[in-house]
């Protein structure tokens, strides 16, 4: 089983949407995928039509070995592990941050026979290190919107070792967007993923329809990007950093 970690350079850059569409795209290629939410806000479930007030999630599992009790099957080959209601409490972020890494490290051994891919939607690195999960990951992907604020944050923090940058929300018609993306390509070279996700209203609409963009609008640019990214992930033998 291969592990993909997604985290945003900051909140609101579309990380959860990227997780939903990549998980669905991988499933579309016949892969067995479990997508899990490691954020207290517990938004990933909304991309898969899980009711807003549903309490289930991996935080409620009696043990990591029994995590499948709290997993939803979205479609054959695609499963979802929401965070759960405990993560949505006022102190949810702290609870999730403390529990996530040991839980998923233990759960991975159990899940390896049932899934080809485990895709984790993680908090921004500053809020949760998740170092051991990063060390186990096949791909550690940082999502960034090419704007000035994201550029400053990336330059301050740098890319976490071995992580790759996924550009989301690129608008080539906007000079700054194109220029920041070019700077990142020059600066980080092949650590910038070859698939860029262009600004696409379909992504926002798909969440409002509680479905990944790959199902909401199959021909949207973001859906094509998701399938390209899925193929790229499947084609790589070993990550080269």
């Amino acid at each position: 089983m291969k592990l993909i970690l997604f985290s945003g350079v900051r909140g609101g850059v579309g990380t959860t949407s990227m997780v939903a569409m990549l998980a669905d795209a991988l499933c579309g290629f016949g892969q067995r995928v479990l997508a899990a939410d490691l954020n207290g806000a517990d938004m990933l479930r909304l991309h898969f039509n899980v009711p807003y007030d549903d309490p289930h999630g991996w935080l409620a599992a009696p043990s990591p070995q029994q995590c499948l009790q709290e997993v939803f099957q979205v479609t054959p080959g695609l499963c979802l592990a929401p965070c759960g209601a405990r993560g949505r409490l006022p102190d949810g972020d702290a609870v999730v941050a403390a529990a996530a890494e040991p839980f998923w490290l233990a759960a991975m051994d159990v899940l390896a026979t049932d899934f080809d891919w485990l895709v984790l939607d993680c908090p921004v690195p500053r809020r949760s290190a998740l170092d051991q999960l990063r060390a186990r990951s096949t791909y550690d992907i940082c999502v960034a919107w090419p704007d000035a604020a994201a550029h400053v944050l990336l330059m301050q923090q740098g890319l976490v070792a071995a992580s790759r940058l996924l550009i989301n929300g690129l608008n080539p018609a906007h000079q700054l967007s194109a220029d920041v993306a070019l700077d990142w390509r020059c600066r980080w070279d092949d650590r910038v993923l070859p698939v860029w996700v262009h600004e696409d209203e379909g992504l926002h609409e798909s969440l409002a329809h509680k479905t990944p963009v790959t199902r909401y609008r199959r021909d949207a640019a973001a859906s094509h990007a998701a399938r390209s990214l899925a193929l790229w992930c499947m084609a790589q033998q070993e990550p080269k950093i």
């Binding site: 000035a148 550029h151 330059m155 220029d179 920041v180 070019l182 700077d183 390509r185 020059c186």
Partner: protein
Amino acid sequence: MTGSVVLASLAAVAEDSPVPEDDIGALQHYLGAAPVQYVDVAMARAHRQVLKCWPLLHEMDANA
């Protein structure tokens, strides 16, 4: 060696290469050369323009 002969030879090398789509790798293999430091001159030039255009990007680059 004419250009067409060189290209034909490179094509033959590329077919044998473990990474046939990698033209730089094929050239390196054909020449038996050390790893090639490939410089995208056009992109480097565009990057310099970007840094001139946006003071914040220039400042961050200078402090990198």
